[in-house]
Amino acid sequence: MTASARRPRVWAMIAVYAALAVATATVLYPVLLVVKKAFEPGRQFALSASPIPDDVTLDHVRALLGARGPDGELAFVRHALASVVVALATTVVGIALACTAAYALSRFRFPGRRTALTTFLVVQMFPASLLLLPLYVLLHRLGLLNSLTGLVLVYSTTAIPFCVWTLKGYFDGLPRELLEAARVDGAGPARIFFTIVLPLARPGIAVTALFSFMTAWNEFIMASTFLTDEGKYTLPVLLQSSVGQFSADWGRFAAGAIVTSVPVMILFYVLQKYLVGGLTAGAVKG
């Protein structure tokens, strides 16, 4: 401790602070531009490079939140609700499936385990263009086309592989003696899983839940392909269509972008201490 606490050289300090300042400025500049656009009159994207608005208005926010759908309902609220429902359901389904699978792969040795692990890695490589058409036909056959349920099913299976690998890393790190002791005390596998493993792995579960949530919250190709009814559009589809080829309304887009990003940012902020380390737990042990 003492050695590292020694005073660093001045030029090193300057370099580190300068690098951080430049990086942070680069990160924040586009964000500030969007904030500016959301509260500045006009539909164009940006007429000046300055991230400070000349004039402040709530018109875009009001237009975004106040837009009425065909039945006179608040359109944005409706789409936001669809997105929230899809994202939360995806998180619950994805985590439930990933936790059990990761636990099986981490704690048990059975034939086919390596194959299953490899499969969970390989499916990450399936390009969406290969799956889109068969999934479309499959959902059509199951009567799940144009339904949020179908979307939830597809999203959770997209999220599962990454969640399984991350959670497996977490479960691998749990003390084996604890589980062994519980077993000796007569706890069954289900009881060990629910009362010991899950509570201990809470940070890992939090991180993977965040990823499942983001998978569903951010996806727009499948949503725009599988949802044909405009009333069911999720937020990404809605936002993307607001800056379409011919009628770009950047003010409204910026307002929507902020409203869409803030929930994820809050989640990131809350979970950031789990994020560091949570990702590497699996990687280091392989």
């Binding site: 940006a46 034939p111 390989v122 499916v123 994820v264």
Partner: protein, 526 residues
């Protein structure tokens, strides 16, 4: 370990026969439905054709029809030379086809007449899935057309046959087990199913049933099924934990994937599929007949994709690691604040990031050009040349991608024991030596998998390319995934080409992963 008592041979034989029979039955049912539909279609087509012949002879058709008549050639209406109208004759009655008070089935007659004019006599099922058939035969007055009514319910599943055959199979298997020739009994009991297989699916399906029977027999004789069953029982806890996710993955990922692979061997044009074997792959790999420097040549796109992936991963790792090292300094003030701010791009949905950067790169009004002009430089028309459009894509993706690497590197840095540094410092190692001999070697095991994962994500990063440059100029900045998307949705629904492209992408990534994991593993085990 307690040795479990040997399973009674009758039960094992019945179990194996049952599982194999189930497998054959699933395939048999599909064959049954297909054979039934074929018979059904043939019958309806024959009825429609007979009805059309009857109409042509001015007789009453034998079976009821939804619409029938001889459709006269189109003639112009007096006073409205551009409006043409057809008439339909049925017996002695002649009336105009269509119009406000006409029956809805007139549309079917009209379409059939148009098809007859284009292609001559025909008989076909209506494409609405109702099972109705339409036929047109030639007469001197025009095509005689008949549309059959919706047929009744199709022939039901022969349950008696099913129960009888399964029962017979069970008796044979049990008898075999009792007689001591257990494997033979199992084989014969499954082979019984070859009988209906022959009638519904021909010799091919019957052969399939026999192969399954033979395979089960051999597996049973060698004890493989016994071991499998014992394994399933022994690992039932682990397998039941794995099952929910496995089933979901099989239904919603693996089956679509296999179907997608299959589609790659077909060509889809104007709504019809034709099997073309390896043609799609051949065309793609031959560059679709274009020169190598043509942006639509596969090898050009592959080059762009590799360049895109390489540039992004290098930038992600370099920037991410550098910032992680900076954040890791113990004397840094406000570390939490810096870290939160630097993670921000990760939290913003990537399609929003892509659209923001697209707006920033806009030629006339874009913020980037305003910035450049502020520094006294000329504005750039970003999406009109390859290099600038590519740079815009890379800048966007670097912005949104480096936090992942930074967080991974931070996690790895925190796991390096502090005493290693202290020992190095006591030994008089310089800061540079500590970096290259302690920090970087410890980062490698965590960054290796992250690099492989990151390169897969970047290789398949659809949103940034599609939304920022959109392939401009002229598709030159498209990568493989966006090009595959264009085959499916922007070039006349060539799903076959898109799927073949997807297969190639998958194979490339698979090779890369196998290669990558081998390299990282080798590094980990010196």
């Amino acid at each position: 370990m307690i040795v479990s008592p040997p399973r009674p041979p009758v039960r094992a034989a019945l179990r194996d026969a049952g599982v194999a029979a189930l497998l054959v039955w699933v395939v048999l049912m599909a064959a049954f439905v297909r054979a039934r539909n074929r018979d059904f279609a043939a019958r309806e087509l024959a009825r429609a054709e007979a009805a059309a012949q009857a109409v042509a002879r001015d007789e009453a058709p034998l079976h009821p029809t939804a619409a029938a008549g001889v459709v006269r050639p189109a003639t112009a209406i007096a006073g409205y030379p551009y409006l043409k109208r057809r008439k339909v004759v049925r017996g002695k009655v002649e009336r105009p086809l269509g119009g406000p008070s006409a029956p809805a089935a007139d549309k079917l007659l009209y379409d059939a007449a148009a098809r007859f004019d284009a292609a001559g006599p025909f008989a076909a099922l209506l494409p609405d899935g109702s099972g109705r058939a339409v036929a047109a035969v030639a007469t001197r007055r025009g095509p005689a057309i008949a549309v059959t009514v919706e047929p009744g319910a199709p022939r039901g599943l022969p349950w008696l046959v099913v129960i009888g055959l399964v029962g017979l199979g069970a008796v044979l298997a049990a008898a075999g087990a009792v007689a001591g020739r257990s494997a033979l009994g199992v084989g014969v009991s499954v082979a019984v199913l070859g009988l209906p297989a022959w009638t519904w699916g021909g010799p091919l399906l019957a052969g399939f049933a026999l192969v399954v029977a033979l395979a089960t027999m051999l597996a049973h004789a060698r004890g493989a099924t016994e071991r499998l069953a014992a394994g399933l029982v022994a690992h039932r806890v682990a397998l039941s934990f794995l099952a929910p996710a496995a089933i979901a993955m099989i239904v919603l990922v693996l089956i679509p994937f296999v179907v997608g692979l299959g589609i790659g061997f077909y060509d889809h044009q104007h709504g019809s599929w034709t099997c073309v074997g390896l043609d799609n792959f051949g065309r793609i790999l031959a560059g679709n007949g274009r020169a190598f420097d043509d942006p639509l040549n596969f090898w050009f796109i592959l080059g762009v994709t590799v360049l895109w992936t390489g540039a992004n991963v290098v930038l992600h790792v370099a920037i991410g690691t550098a910032l992680a090292l900076a954040l890791h300094q113990r004397w840094l003030v406000g570390r939490g604040v810096w870290r939160v701010l630097l993670i921000v791009p990760w939290a913003i949905p990537n399609y929003i990031t892509a659209l923001i950067w697209k707006g920033m790169f806009q030629g006339e009004y874009g913020a980037i050009n305003s910035l450049l002009e502020g520094f006294g430089l000329d504005g750039v028309s970003w999406f009109s040349s390859w290099a600038t459009a590519f740079a815009a894509n890379v800048a966007t993706n670097t912005w949104l991608g480096f936090p992942f690497m930074m967080v991974v590197a931070l996690g790895a840095l925190e796991s390096i024991p502090r005493d290693l540094y202290e020992a190095a410092e006591v030994d008089g190692a310089s800061a540079w030596q500590r970096l290259t001999h302690i920090t970087l070697p410890h980062l490698r095991p965590a960054l290796g998998p992250a690099v492989i994962l990151g390169s897969i994500w970047t290789f398949n990063m659809f949103n940034v390319i599609f939304l920022v440059s959109g392939g401009k100029p002229g598709g030159a900045t498209d990568i493989l995934v966006t090009d595959a998307y264009r085959w499916a949705f922007e070039r006349g629904e060539r799903y076959g080409m898109a799927a073949a492209m997807g297969t190639i992408i998958f194979l490339i990534l698979l090779l890369w992963t196998v290669f990558g994991t081998r390299v990282t593993r080798k590094e980990r085990e010196p």
